[in-house]
Symmetry: C2
Subunit: 472 residues, 2 copies
């Protein structure tokens, strides 16, 4: 498809719709809108114009204009994405929701909050904590990311084992469709089978099927107490095989079950000059339990600790105060950063496999790392099989070699994941970065179904084109 | 659209695909496939042929055949639906999944079960209970309904406050698309953002976008202890305003928060000759809490009891043993049956509104009941705003008058629900019964989006046509 160019006339029309201050096209100002948090040297593309609308009505008019002139429109949240979903691959209009950042309503009677897409996710939690509530679906980047981006990616975080991910909490939304219609979906309601669940189609569609202009988010009771367990295992097998037992035998759904392989823990501890008792361990689980009573949290932690020991844990450390909790979580959070000392050139993945297959995946990853002489630490959300396996460049290789290795090693990693019944992205999305692998790794029937829906809802293919898949 | 007729030649081709014993067309045998549990005198339509396939491959071939000859195909589970979703409105092929009732695999390591769509839902719970697990998304009809029907309707039940509904637990599925492709979606994975979430589009689409031939269901830890509270309130307001406080102030998410208005409790108690202390009460809440420890369940019950009393409850009764629990739940379960003594002609609804709007809805319902001189008891899942308001015919009216009143009163009820930001179905679906109201009550943009998707995925409109909406 040949797209139209953003001419002076089109910019004038955009100014008519949005006002002077919400339209700009000077290169310097636009630069920061040309990439997200995927490596800029690989994933960057300049928009022809950036707009910062303030209402769904304006966005509707922009979409109608864009359809008339066949101008691609790329929606953007905080730009904290990790798959290049907000990069304007074909230039055109970059639509930033940064000015649509209002809290429209807090409805305590229904335990819901209504917000605009440009709101920083963590602001919700700040506002409703005093009433004993929180937004339970938030991702780990909650201090910078926007709600709109969370919805577009169906973002998940460290607490997904117990609380699930973003989509579970989005009970209603207003969107502007690719053809410029303003559509309300769902509402302040929890159950709804009144026709197709279009909300859930929009959630995770990476801005390719519409722009979310308002979200109704269900709030949950904020747990009052929590405790953390750091558990050392001799190997990956004993750690991973313990995970389902905690839930079935122990009857406990922990808030988090994080996994770190030896390489990850070792590197992060060295980086932080932290002396966790990790030396003997072949792998570690970091578990969190939360609840409304201290006694219940303590009991849960005890049951989990015992189960871990029965299943071959070497040691169980309980971090029941803020300082020790921060210490162990800091190790987990600093793994990616720690590897930057080794090399800043990385490919941060978020593959997802059946939990029990993590044990089979680990030696496959080791083989790939050895074959290409790169480091591939694995850590992440064991409780839902979602691992941040990371490819880290060998500092001795050239950039050219690295790009070549990255592409090949990624394909081998994804193929291993597919063999195990997994998927290539559990929370970061496909975006621009992973779309080239989709046709090989996702079934043709499923790909055809996605393309059919995209073509039907966005007949001119102007809504964030080139993301997830290319049309055929 | 003009559909083709099921000729002798087509039946021969079906026999070729499915074998003699899986194809029949004698009227008597087909009769029970002509309706579901909506009133037979209003919602019945005979199929031209009934087939009972045993594999996805057979269904795929049938769909290809049906597309060639433009024959409508209506999938059917247990026929326990309450919206006419499985009625073959245009004749054609009735596809019953009754013979696809196998448990394919129980995977304890991943806490998942893989089943065919014709399995009776409760069999899952029977199989996995010994390992401390259960399927938490089941509806109240679990002893008769099929898993396939649960998915088609995104069925929910009495435990949805804590556990959510069917769709939350369907992590993977195999479907046959309207054009006959066999497509795998998801897998034994919990998080997945690898492209659009097509599973969630299929869930609740009432068999109009494909036939589920296999489901991968996530299991949850089976709570070991539970207790119930029956709480009497003077009026609806004090009962309903207590609901969010239990979650936010109490920090507790109960398993169930059921609501019964005075008329419902009164009628059910009389019917069962049960002497609950309901006489003084203007409304009642029936709450269940569950957990892994008796002490925790007791504490939760105490906190809830105290909160209810602080919020104007007249009395709180704790039903902490099986006998008393059965007594109070029996009242709740027998409301519909109890009203059949008054009149067997009813319209069982499952409207859903914001929880706090239940208080505004009740007087609106009373007005409608008075206007048409019918009874309209309301009871159901207060914890998610989902009420089984039921229209019960006045025994003094003729059937003709009743049908007229039913249509008008339903429209007024649905309009009241819309005004309050609610939806017309929370768990039973739209099917054949409610589709005539959709265009008036759902926004034009949302309806257009649904129709666009349906047309794109089922170009000949042969997959359960005439359900949810008619095409335009």
């Amino acid at each position: 498809m040949k797209y139209g160019k953003v001419t002076k006339e089109i910019i004038e029309q955009l100014v008519n719709i949005l006002g002077e201050k919400n339209v700009f096209s000077d290169e310097e100002k636009m630069e920061s809108y040309s990439h997200d948090e995927t490596p800029i040297e690989q994933y960057q593309s300049m928009p022809e114009v950036v707009i910062t609308p303030t209402s769904a009505q304006q966005i509707s008019e922009v979409m109608k204009l864009a359809n008339r002139y066949l101008i691609p429109v790329t929606p953007r949240g905080a730009g904290s994405g990790l798959s290049g979903g907000a990069i304007p691959l074909f230039g055109g209009i970059l639509l930033s929701v940064e000015k649509m950042n209002k809290v429209i309503e807090i409805d305590y009677e229904n335990m819901m909050i209504v917000v605009e897409p440009g709101l920083v996710t963590n602001e919700i939690n700040g506002l409703v904590a005093e009433k004993g509530l929180f937004f339970a679906g938030y991702p780990m980047s909650l201090e910078t990311c926007y709600v709109g981006g969370n919805i577009a990616e169906n973002a998940g975080g460290g607490k997904a084992v117990k609380y699930g991910v973003t989509g579970q909490y989005i009970v209603g939304m207003e969107i502007v469709s690719p053809i410029g219609e303003i559509i309300e979906l769902g509402g302040k309601i929890i159950k709804d089978v009144t026709g197709y669940d279009l909300k859930r189609l929009i959630v995770g569609s990476e801005g390719t099927l519409g722009i979310v202009t308002k979200a109704i988010i269900k709030l949950s009771p904020l747990p009052k107490f929590r405790t953390n367990l750091l558990v050392l295992f001799e190997d990956v097998d004993s750690a991973i095989s313990t995970v389902p037992k905690i839930m079935s035998e122990g009857g406990i759904v922990p808030t988090s079950i994080e996994f770190m392989d030896k390489l990850s823990v070792h590197t992060a501890c060295n980086y932080l000059n932290e002396h966790l008792p990790y030396q003997k361990a072949g792998s570690m689980l970091l578990l969190e339990v939360d609840g409304t009573k201290q006694s219940q949290v303590d009991e849960d932690a005890e049951v989990i600790g015992e189960l871990c020991l029965e299943n071959g844990a070497i040691e169980v450390y309980v971090a029941d105060n803020y300082t020790t909790q921060e210490r162990v979580w800091s190790v987990r959070r600093n793994i990616a950063e720690a590897f930057k000392v080794y090399s800043p050139h990385q490919s941060l993945e978020d593959i997802v496999v059946p939990i029990s297959s993590i044990t089979k995946l680990m030696p496959m990853i080791e083989k790939i790392a050895a074959k290409y002489d790169i480091k591939m630490p694995s850590y992440g959300h064991a409780g839902d099989g979602n691992l941040h396996t990371t490819l880290v460049k060998n500092p001795d290789s050239t950039m050219e070699e690295w790009y070549d290795i990255e592409e090949k090693a990624l394909l081998e990693l994804y193929e291993a994941v597919k063999v195990l019944g997994g998927k290539i992205s559990g929370e970061h999305g496909i975006g621009a970065k992973r779309k080239k692998y989709m046709d090989d790794l996702v079934g043709p029937g499923e790909m055809a179904m996605m393309r059919t829906i995209k073509k039907a809802l966005d007949p001119n293919n102007i809504m964030n084109p080139g993301k997830i898949f290319d049309l055929k």
